[in-house]
């Protein structure tokens, strides 16, 4: 019984935890500009994150080593450091976007300027990381984040032309206002939003925090293989809402308020309250995860003691790293930069940095010295090799496309 409960809770938090500011913004932007015609990119991203998280979770459970311990061991100091710097920069960028997202959501709830919410949000993130137990932190944020399901409910209440949405997704109708280059740019952005590297650092380090063993493999696999696809469905619902309400009116999403407005139109003020709660929970949860991930990455790489299972005094440098990253995020946001812009860049750079962590995990998931008999099977290896190519192509194409399209303008 307890086991079923653990699996169910894990799946629920995986759904709620899947969507963060990157998914919220990117899916709404794409829905408002391309309808559902980039739905395939979400599917590709979800399958990718399932592969990646499943492998790194297995490596963490069997070997007890988290992602950056492995990167250090397998790549050596030189390539490892380059990898660390790139991954850390992107994680801090994502953290900045998430803290900004919390502030924007709180603005929608209160009408108070986001600049005033930023320090409050960052302080709350720090406080939770410092004080709250890992499992409580993860479960509360994940379950509250589930209120984003209201996007799906609202989509039904809006009563869209389902055939039209299906046609957009499957028949690739043309977009008179867009160029093929922006189409591909946003395909990579969606891919990066679904496959954010921090999710994997967090997932594998979380496995070590919660002391997973071989016995937890089934639970962790169920969380990933059921929770993440359902989270992907939620992403598609966000895009569907934007495609139904905003696309026909020629409104391009460039703010969080536009992302949640279709929910208000479909489900009224109650729906709006629920979706704002969901956005706050999802971005706050993701801010916790990215903040911790930055600490995990640096501490694991340098061999410092890390983890929330230790008291902060026993993992001082780990906690100091998190504090510094939060301060950096706040300072960046206080310059008045638009958090939505930071988000749009962070998902694309996520796609750029992805091969750096994917490759070592793929290699180690095949190494019996780490995972014993639980090495990748033949089919898994075939699929993950194809994904290695997809990830490499996306990483190489991302920056040229960003320049050519002026970041999707």
């Amino acid at each position: 019984m307890k086991r079923y409960f653990a699996v169910a809770l894990g799946i629920l938090t995986a759904i709620g935890g899947f969507v963060d500011i990157g998914d919220l913004v990117t899916n709404a932007v794409v829905g408002s500009r391309f309808g559902m015609s980039l739905a395939w990119a979400v599917v590709v991203g979800v399958v990718g994150i399932c592969l990646f998280a499943q492998m790194s979770g297995r490596v963490a459970a069997i070997s007890g080593r988290a992602t950056f311990e492995i990167i250090r061991e397998r790549l050596g100091p030189r390539a490892g450091t380059a990898n660390l710097v790139a991954s850390l920069l992107i994680t801090i960028m994502t953290l900045t976007a998430e803290v900004g997202g919390v502030a924007l959501a709180l603005q929608l709830a209160s009408g108070v300027q986001p600049l005033l919410w930023i320090p409050v949000a960052a302080f709350a993130v720090w406080l939770v990381i410092w004080r709250v137990k890992f499992s409580i932190m993860e479960n509360v944020a994940g379950v509250l984040g589930l209120s984003l399901v209201v996007f799906g409910v609202a989509l039904f209440l809006l009563g869209p032309d389902w055939g039209e949405l299906k046609d957009q997704a499957l028949q690739q109708t043309s977009h008179p206002r867009e160029t093929p280059l922006t189409y591909w740019y946003y395909a990579i952005a969606l891919f990066g939003a679904a496959m954010t590297p921090y999710e994997v650092f967090f997932f594998s380090s979380g496995g070590v925090e919660e002391r997973w063993t071989e016995k937890d493999l089934v639970t962790s696999r169920a969380n990933v293989l059921v929770g993440f696809p359902l989270g992907g469905l939620l992403s598609l619902a966000i895009a569907g809402c934007a495609a139904t309400v905003l696309l026909p009116r020629g409104i391009d999403v460039d703010a969080l308020s536009q992302t949640v407005l279709p929910v208000a139109m479909g489900a009224g003020q109650l729906g709006l309250a629920i979706v704002i709660l969901g956005v706050v929970a999802a971005t706050f949860g993701a801010a916790l995860e990215t903040g911790l991930s930055a600490g995990y990455a640096l501490a694991q790489f340098n061999g410092w003691s890390w983890g929330k299972f230790r008291r902060p005094a026993q993992a001082a440098r780990f906690h100091l790293t998190i504090i510094i990253c939060l301060v950096v995020a706040v300072l960046v946001l206080l310059t008045g930069i638009d958090p939505i812009l930071v988000t749009e860049y962070s998902v694309v750079f996520s796609a750029v940095a992805l091969p750096l962590t994917y490759l070592p995990i793929l290699v180690v998931a095949n190494d019996p010295q780490y995972v014993g008999e639980h090495v990748n099977g033949r089919l898994l290896n075939a699929v993950s090799s194809v994904y290695l190519v997809v990830i490499l192509v996306a990483a190489v194409a991302a920056i040229p496309l960003m320049i050519l399209t002026k970041a999707g303008a």
Partner: protein, 107 residues
């Protein structure tokens, strides 16, 4: 001398350049210590090109996923192990004694 200083240095044999130091091999068979026996340096792995490592694919026991394993095997081609006894001197370049043996670098 630090091991990390030796890595990536050029290796010269009696008849000219051989490549670069890619890795070192140690065997844990020295005098017994508290947990493990002390590590003994067996030799240096010399690769024809000065590139990054093999990500563990120098071990014959690991051959999946196939495309990656083949890629790294190809990069590894031409690399060999020189025993520590066959190393003449180490300064800016690593010199190998005449009459040295090229051992397989696979594990």
């Amino acid at each position: 001398m630090f091991l990390s200083d030796v890595l990536r240095r050029p290796v010269v044999g009696p008849d000219g350049p051989l490549g670069f130091v890619a890795d070192c091999r140690v065997a844990v068979d020295g005098t017994p210590g508290q947990l493990l026996a002390n590590a003994q340096l067996v030799g240096l792995v010399v690769a024809p090109r000065n590139r990054q490592g093999f990500l563990g694919y120098e071990r014959t026991s690991v051959s999946s996923p196939a495309p990656l394993a083949q890629w790294y095997e190809r990069r590894q081609r031409g690399s060999f192990l020189v025993l520590w006894e066959d190393i003449e001197s180490i300064d800016d370049v690593v010199r190998v004694r005449p009459g040295y043996t090229r051992w397989s670098s696979a594990l």
